[in-house]
Amino acid sequence: MLRIECPCCGPRDHDEFRYGGDASVKRPAHDDPDPEAWHRYVYIRTNPAGPHREFWQHVTGCRQWLVVERDTRNHAIAAVDFARKLRARKSTLRKSPA
């Protein structure tokens, strides 16, 4: 079984988590009317043999959605962070002047 280290609860068995799919795809804004953008978000996946960023929710714990970087070849987990924190960090990065 996988053991995933929840950033606030510590290492837990994977059956405490709910899988949420690829975290590397970019979700269009809620009011984005572009079908292509939604099509890419919903259906287009790279399926890498190697590191993969994916969403997991610690559903029987703190209920936070996490981004887990898992190697699909050997299940080695390189990093786990809160999805919310990563998103906040990204948006501040975006805002900062180039």
Binding site: M1, D13, A23, R27, P33, W38, V42, W65
Partner: protein, 985 residues
């Protein structure tokens, strides 16, 4: 009682003060505490223990551990019967009842051993060749006979009365294997300050040290090591525990056997599976000796040399007095010496041209005959070995014997370390495979790493234990382990090339795979080891080919003229040793199979005889027997009562979510296809959520309790999914929205009062509340308190009747339920169950789970108008995809049965009247009900839009009842009160 005539009077690790009685195939035998079943059988002179899988050849005891391919037995009787257990791992206990397997009518006279005659038909690839292609149908006919002929033991059919457990455990350092390396690793890790679990499948610690004489230096070392470990409070010594799997996250699957020699209190767990989460793991799994391949090498009386030594030194059994030791290496000579010292007449046949001089000298001194460059080519014997044919520099000769000890070298036990996919790596110097690599937190030590000499293994274990402890931050300094030098000479092994005479030469004893089979596979192109395995079934027995793997690789490598590493190894997968399904399930059987959810009114339903129905994890009232004889009678009566008077339904299972925050309305506007921002405070609205791909996700009602606070309900089935989805969107997509979502499903008892009398019931039950249509209009909310708990009354209808959903704090649910029934008595208020609930909604044309099945869109369900011209909500863009707008997409219709005395059935396939009923049809019936309103069966269906004109006919074919066929007319899905007048009635 038998005599133990092969037992020595002294020595061994058995307790002669504690005799143990057992039966084998009905024969009463005796052994001692400390015996395994195998050692006790050998002590009694029992050499024939089982029949082989395919050819029913007589087989005996080949090994002294879990690698045993031959001596598989069935233990116990009735529900406790457990087949295919290696006699070599069964700890002998009083009253043990054991049967041999795969023989008929008896072990000694097996009718099917004539299968020698059938053998040509049972060669590798036989099934594939015979039963594929045009002859495939023949399989149906022959399967029964073949399955009966080829097989292992049979499981019992009675329920198993024993208990099994699954437990969760933790350790800093787990050590697999209690041999010299494992003991040393455990000591080092524990001394470094780590919490240690030492896992040993045997009931004694020691591993190969147990094969040493019980008064030797090795024995004292072991005694000291054990005592030292027992001194650590932080070290758990898990005996009788096999590690069967090694998993991600440094998790080990362990199965522990109850101590069978303990007096057995009722209810004690027979087997416990422990999932052990370790911060680091040391694998000290040892090595398994390889057999040698020659004609009739499978006969009883042929035994691994190390096993023979174990039986002599650990169990004080002398299974033979005239023995041949056939070897490729130094190790087996120690068996020869020990047997000679015990008084046996011993000949060593060493394949090497010049065996080491030191060994030859000791042999001479002990009177052991040595024949260099000599191998066994054939063996003669039936139920016991009689003589072998040797081939050496002087040509062939025969030698009489009663025990043949073989050693083709050693294979490190790399099964567990390979479970995570790391391929073993070949090491030329030991002519064997060791673990290719270790992920972080995993270590190997001792023989499994190719470090065979005991002294070296102890040092290696010490190193690995120290490193493993240090990798989890425990690095107190540890004194060096006490040394143990067993005076072992370097084991330089010569690869054995199989040599075959007239009889079959077995590579895989358990699966009856011979050298001929490997040659055949090679000849037919199945050269890759993975193909070889599947073509010949090599290694696919319960022993996973522990003794056969290397010999088979070597044979294939020779045939391919390739090296061993080029030939490769097959993949090892869990379980390393068989694990009973019962042990894996633990206590999760029967009523503990899954947790059960009970509503606050559960006890009332039970006390009033409700038939209950499992809906997911929930128990819900199916129908109330007071309403009718069976469910069909009852639900129609319950429906009628709702339509004519009033019904009370437990709807506590609905998912309930508290949605709060300054941005709650914006949030709901985005997740529902219909708008919520403008919903006034105190009003409820039916809402539908879509998935990102535009397919309907779930539906329910959401009520605005305050400007920033909503009360959402979801379907029973989707409650958990909806909450997770909302959290996903808030955490990943819209973290800027200040909204909190919390499940309050358990917080509220919920009940629905439906029917023309429902308002009267409410007035009577809540005399202090104004429930008039002005105070509580359709889709209105009334908040109050009842018996100190919060109370919410929503005027909502699922059935099409005037109806109210009443929510009260869960602890007062049953009390309010009873109060409503009492107040409603004058108005014919009666409870109804989920069958009636479903029927009422079908009649009203409301969609539910069978229609919202993960494939339908708003338009398919006739709900397209809900979204109207809105945009910006989840699923909006992709629901407009052209494919989802195709005119022949299946959409919701109503069906009316137009044949007297017939009924519609959910799941029936729809065809046009003139069509051959074949294939997927034009659509399917999703929900049905008898309609008291219409006087016949009605149903909802999903039907291709191009043939769904109202008024036309279709044929519903039900494949589960011999294609039962019913004619039906397409109508509006709303069978009742299309104007919605009854909502206000």
């Amino acid at each position: 009682m038998s005599s133990n005539h092969k037992r020595l009077s002294m020595g061994g690790r058995i307790d002669r003060e504690q005799p143990v009685e057992f039966t084998f195939d009905g024969r009463k035998l005796a052994g001692y505490r400390g015996d395994t079943l195998a050692s006790a059988l050998l002590a009694n002179g029992v050499t024939l223990v089982g029949r082989s899988f395919k050819y029913h050849r007589p087989r005996g005891i080949f090994s002294a551990g879990p690698e045993e391919p031959n001596a598989l037995v069935t233990l116990g009787s009735a529900g406790r019967r457990e087949p295919n257990l290696p006699a070599t791992t069964l700890e002998l206990a009083d009253g043990m009842v054991v049967e041999s397997q795969n023989r008929w009518p008896s072990l000694a006279f097996d009718v099917q051993s004539v299968n020698g005659l059938l053998a040509p038909f049972l060669s590798a690839g036989f099934y594939y060749k015979t039963f594929m292609g045009p002859t495939r149908r023949a399989w149906m006919f022959y399967e029964h006979f073949i399955r009966k002929a080829a097989g292992l033991g049979r499981a019992g059919t009675d329920a198993d009365p024993d208990r099994y457990e699954v437990r969760h455990a933790f350790a800093d350092v787990a050590i697999v294997g209690g041999g010299p390396a494992g003991l040393s690793a455990a000591r080092a890790a524990a001394a470094a300050g780590a919490r240690v679990a030492l896992i040993e499948q045997d009931f004694l610690l020691g591993g190969q040290l147990l094969a040493e004489p019980s008064d030797s230096a090795a024995a004292s070392w072991l005694k000291q090591a054990e005592a030292e470990l027992e001194g650590f409070e932080t070290a758990a010594l898990m005996k009788r525990t096999a590690a069967f799997g090694s998993y991600d996250g440094n998790v080990l699957g362990l199965v522990e056997q109850r101590d069978p020699t303990d007096p057995q209190p009722n209810g004690e767990t027979r087997q416990t599976v422990t999932m052990l989460r370790a911060r680091s793991i040391v694998f000290a799994t040892g090595a398994i000796e390889r057999p040698m391949v020659f004609s009739n090498n499978d006969r009883p009386g042929v035994m691994l040399a190390s096993a023979a030594r174990t039986y002599l030194n650990r169990f004080a059994v002398l299974p033979g007095k005239k023995i041949i030791v056939a070897t490729t290496n130094d190790g087996a000579w120690r068996t020869a010496f020990d047997y000679a010292a015990a008084g046996a007449e011993v000949t060593v046949a060493d394949l090497r041209p010049v065996p080491p001089a030191a060994l030859a000298a000791e042999a001479a001194w002990l009177g052991v005959v040595v024949r260099a460059a000599t191998r066994i080519v054939d063996l003669n014997g039936g139920h016991a070995v009689r003589r072998v044919t040797l081939n050496g520099p002087d040509g062939q000769s025969e030698a009489a014997c009663d025990l043949v000890c073989v050693s083709g070298g050693w294979s490190p036990t790399v099964h567990l370390t390979s479970h995570l996919g790391s391929k073993p790596a070949y090491r030329d110097d030991i002519d064997g495979f060791v673990p290719g690599s270790f992920p972080a937190g995993r270590f190997g030590a001792g023989a499994m790493m190719g470090t065979y000499a005991t002294g070296d293994a102890i040092e290696d274990g010490h190193r690995a234990g120290t490193e493993a402890a240090s990798s989890c931050g425990k690095s107190a300094s540890v004194p060096a382990p006490s040394k143990l030098d067993l005076d072992e000479t370097a084991t330089i092994s010569l690869r054995e090339i199989p040599s075959v005479g007239r009889g079959k030469a077995f590579v895989d004893f358990q699966m009856d795979v011979t050298t001929e089979d490997i040659e055949l596979a090679h000849r037919e192109g199945y050269e890759s080891v993975e193909h070889l395995k599947r073509y010949t079934t090599l290694g696919m027995g319960t022993d996973q080919g522990k003794t056969s793997n290397f010999a088979a690789l070597a044979a294939m490598a020779t045939l391919r003229r390739a090296t061993i590493p080029k030939t490769g190894v097959t993949t090892f997968r869990p379980p390393y040793t068989p694990v009973a399904i019962g042990a894996l399930a633990g206590r999760a059987t029967g009523h503990h199979f899954k947790p059960i959810r009970r509503t606050p009114m559960h006890d009332w339903h039970m006390a009033n005889g409700a038939e209950m129905l499992e809906v997911g994890l929930w128990m819900r009232p199916y129908f109330y027997p007071q309403s009718g004889r069976d469910v069909n009678d009852a639900y129609v009566a319950e429906m009628r009562n709702v339509r004519q008077a009033a019904g009370l339904m437990d709807i506590s299972t609905l998912g309930k979510i508290d949605v709060q925050g300054p941005d709650a309305a914006i949030f709901l506007d985005r997740i529902y296809a219909n708008g919520f921002a403008k919903l006034p405070v105190g009003r409820a609205r039916y809402g539908v959520m879509l998935r990102d791909d535009g397919i309907v996700f779930d539906d329910g009602t959401t009520t605005r309790l305050a400007e920033n606070r909503f009360f959402m309900t979801t379907s029973t089935a989707k409650a958990a999914d909806v909450l997770s989805r909302l959290e996903f969107l808030l955490d990943t997509a819209w973290p800027d929205l200040r909204v909190a979502v919390t499940s309050v499903s358990d917080e509220w008892a919920a009940m629905s009062v439906a029917g023309p009398n429902s308002r009267a019931v409410l007035s009577a039950a809540f005399p202090a509340l104004d429930v008039s249509d002005e105070a509580l209009p359709h889709m209105g909310l009334l908040e109050s308190e009842w018996e100190g708990r919060a109370l919410r009354i929503l005027r909502l209808s699922y059935s099409g009747e005037r109806a109210y959903e009443i929510y009260v704090g869960a602890t007062a649910g049953e009390q309010l339920w009873s109060r409503l029934l009492e107040a409603g008595r004058a108005f014919d208020l009666k409870p109804y169950g989920v069958e009636a609930l479903g029927a009422l909604r079908v009649e009203k044309g409301h969609v539910a789970g069978p229609e919202i099945d993960g494939r339908t869109t708003l338009d398919d369900l006739g709900l397209g108008r809900m979204a109207g011209k809105r945009s910006g909500f989840v699923g909006d863009v992709l629901r407009r995809r052209p494919a989802l707008q195709a005119p022949n997409r299946q959409r919701l219709v109503g069906l009316e049965c137009i044949e007297d005395g017939k009924r519609l059935r959910g799941g029936a396939i729809l065809f046009l009247p003139d069509e051959k009923p074949y294939g997927h049809g034009r659509g399917r019936v999703t929900s049905v009900s008898f309609s008291p309103e219409r006087g016949h069966y009605v149903g909802l269906a999903l039907l291709a839009g191009d043939v769904a004109a109202e008024g036309s006919e279709v044929v519903a074919v039900y494949p589960m009842k011999d294609d039962e066929t019913v004619r039906a007319r397409i109508v509006s899905p709303v069978f009742l009160d299309p104007q919605g007048e009854r909502l206000h009635g």
